[in-house]
């Protein structure tokens, strides 16, 4: 009888221990449109982080080490905003995640942010650039303080990176083409995030001794920009300043190549950041250049190892969404410092943190947005040269190659 009772008690204790060991996993919800490139990268970056951390034993939370478990949350945000809010609600109530990372489409992330803040969960953004997300933090700190943006920098700061790169391209044009005042045609997709950028470009370029010959604003989904390119050629532009995030970026690169325009495309072209760009332009997208985040150059000591390992594991290069890797690392540092996973304790720690990630050296301002600095959070600039994406800016980073003009 006594043996039986001992056995049951021990058995129960063992089960309890096993149960609580499993329950001790830190659950992180990775949010993104998983059927598309952005979500795939969100997940891939997170997988790399999880495997690395768990292999090292997990995260030190106070006295014990806890493993992390990442939960795939398909928001389908590109096709439906209510789907995204349903998905995040499911992740919080059903899957009981402790932290949320990811997001891409700004309209959807704004809605998801509300749900996350309702539940006081830390939400690290890894894709949406809209300023409103961080303006909310300033407007109502107590409610929105659980939001931090990990990537990209906000739209206005993208402008600063753009001008920095444009300066060096402009200098190259002045020496190569012997033109004192390069002509710039602005080709921006019609979207809320580009408005402020376009204005900033129109105001700043004359000060940089460049002439703006016109501004064209096709739809982000436009399948044909020959009309715009014809007009741009007619205006004798040297640089086509692109502010594009949709598939129009592919059409633009391809048609510029097909029509052998002598102008070079630079700016933001999100499609051109992807590996599939060369195939999508059927090999015609040569010389297209854009701001980017990841390349095999030493932005930080962690960049090259991360990009190499990512390429080896997933057989393709990471896009900026893979900075979920950095986001998890930020959480780890904060948790280990605080000794707990309580969001209220982690918020002040992240606010003061300087985090050396693979994408950037990140620090945050009062609105929980990234602070811009060249070589730290400015990103890099890449150009497609004969089928390869080559990094050419900032020049002081190791691994940069020269920028090429179309002949």
């Amino acid at each position: 009888m006594k043996l039986n009772r001992w056995a049951t008690t021990l058995g129960a204790l063992a089960l309890l221990a096993a149960g609580s060991a499993a329950a001790q996993n830190i659950k992180i919800g990775i949010l993104g449109p998983m059927a598309f490139v952005q979500g795939e990268n969100h997940w891939a970056g997170a997988e790399m982080a999880r495997d690395e951390i768990n292999k090292a034993g997990g995260i030190q939370v106070g006295a014990s080490k806890r493993q992390i478990e990442i939960v795939k949350v398909d928001t389908n945000e590109l096709q439906s905003v209510p789907d995204a809010t349903n998905a995040i609600e499911r992740a919080i109530s059903r899957d009981k995640v402790d932290f949320l990372i990811g997001g891409f489409r700004s309209e959807a992330v704004l809605a998801m942010q509300e749900v996350a803040m309702d539940n006081k969960k830390l939400f690290l953004g890894a894709g949406a650039a809209d300023a409103k997300l961080c303006d909310n933090v300033t407007k109502d700190y107590e409610r929105y303080k659980y939001w931090f943006r990990v990537t990209p920098t906000k739209s206005a700061d993208l402008a600063r990176s753009l001008f920095a790169v444009l300066g060096s391209i402009g200098a190259q044009i002045r020496t190569d083409l012997k033109k004192e005042v390069p002509k710039v045609a602005i080709l921006s997709e019609k979207a809320a995030w580009t408005e402020a950028l376009v204005k900033a470009v129109q105001d700043t370029l004359p000060k940089m001794k460049m002439e703006v010959v016109g501004t064209w604003a096709p739809s982000p989904l436009a399948t044909d920009v020959t009309a715009e390119l014809s007009a741009i050629k007619r205006a004798n532009a040297d640089i086509v300043f692109t502010i594009v995030s949709g598939p129009m970026g592919i059409v633009l690169g391809r048609q510029m190549g097909e029509l052998q325009l002598s102008a070079v495309a630079f700016g933001i072209n999100v499609e051109a950041q992807k590996d599939g760009f060369w195939q999508a332009t059927a090999g015609k997208g040569n010389y297209v250049s854009t701001l980017d985040t990841f390349s095999e150059v030493e932005v930080t000591p962690k960049t090259v190892p991360f990009v190499k390992a990512f390429k080896e594991r997933f057989k393709k290069a990471p896009t900026y969404n893979a900075a979920t890797y950095d986001a998890i690392s930020i959480l780890r540092v904060a948790i280990e410092q605080a000794g707990s996973i309580d969001a209220d304790k982690l918020v002040p720690l992240i606010e003061k943190m300087e985090h050396v990630g693979s994408a950037a050296v990140a620090t945050w301002d009062k609105s929980h947005d990234l602070i811009w600095a060249v070589g730290k959070t400015s990103g890099i600039a890449v150009q497609w040269q004969d089928g390869k994406k080559v990094a050419f800016w900032p020049p002081q980073v190791k691994g940069m190659q020269p920028f090429k003009m179309p002949n």
Binding site: T226, A231, R234
Partner: protein
């Protein structure tokens, strides 16, 4: 600027014409509003991608094969899905929407959501009136002209064409006259989808291929057929070029309003319809009791 508008409108109008005529044909004869019309166009593009890029087939083989495959699929769909519910107009609408969604999702699952590029048949460009036009676009124009000529020949110089036009005019009497109306409808479906598929294979190298590419041509095409008059082939042709030119003018006259070209085209359609409800060349059908 005029040359740009002239050439740009011509090329885009030609592409729209191919799509619009196919859609108009099927509505005129079978009274089916085929929402999946541009979805077949998308399928043809993907079929070409699969055969050409993945399969490595030569272009001369890949193009006809892609077109034939898509037409065959459409006939199967028609037989299985559309024909049983032909009596209920709204059911047909839903059925075609559902089909289009099925195609979209199947392509999304098999090829993924990213954008694909198909190499052009002939590289390079030509300068027309000082405007650079890529060779592929000239090919499109040639194909459009040839296809339209062939369609005209079929409809106005062959017995089958006579049957098709008769069925479009008055199905009951055509049936009484001994024409197999069901067979005629099926053949019309085949011809109509063939037109869409041809559009898909010539246009795919010029545009970007992705599983959602059927949505925006759908809206433009609907605007065109409605503007020209549902069921009128002449109307669709003229409507296509009108819309093509309206879009070109919008882009050139208002560069920072280029994104509005869709909305402008649709507004014109709405205004024309208010003035002349059956479209420019449409025939008002008697209410079928």
């Amino acid at each position: 600027m005029f040359q740009d508008i002239l050439v740009s409108g011509l090329v885009n109008g030609g592409v729209y014409a191919l799509l619009a005529i196919g859609f108009s044909l099927i509505f005129g004869v079978a009274r089916i509003v085929n929402i999946a019309h541009t979805a077949f166009y998308m399928l043809a593009s993907y079929a070409l991608y699969g055969l050409l890029v993945i399969g490595g087939m030569p272009l001369v083989l890949a193009i006809p094969l892609a077109v034939v495959a898509v037409v065959a699929l459409s006939l199967v769909c028609y037989k299985l899905v559309i024909e049983p519910v032909r009596q209920h107009e709204s059911a047909v609408l839903i059925a075609t929407i559902a089909l289009a969604l099925i195609f979209q999702e199947s392509l999304l699952v098999s090829f993924g959501g990213s954008f694909l590029g198909i190499p052009a048949a002939v590289d390079g460009f030509v300068s027309v009136l000082g405007v650079r036009v890529s060779n592929q676009r000239l090919i499109i124009l040639v194909v459009v002209a040839a296809t339209l000529a062939a369609t005209w020949f079929l409809l106005y110089r062959t017995k089958l064409g006579l049957a098709i036009r008769a069925s479009a005019n008055d199905q009951e009497i055509a049936n009484l006259m001994g024409m197999n109306v069901n067979r005629v409808a099926m053949l019309t479906v085949g011809i109509s989808v063939a037109l869409a598929a041809i559009a898909g294979v010539v246009v795919a190298p010029v545009f970007v291929v992705d599983p959602l590419m059927w949505l925006s041509p759908l809206v433009t095409m609907l605007a065109i057929v409605v503007l020209g008059g549902l069921g009128s082939l002449k109307g669709s042709l003229i409507g296509a070029f009108i819309i093509g030119y309206v879009e070109a003018i919008t882009v050139f006259a208002v560069p920072s309003g280029a994104f509005l070209k869709g909305a402008v085209a649709l507004s014109i359609m709405v205004i024309v319809l208010l003035i002349r409800p059956e479209g420019l060349f449409g025939v008002v059908f008697e209410e079928e009791r």
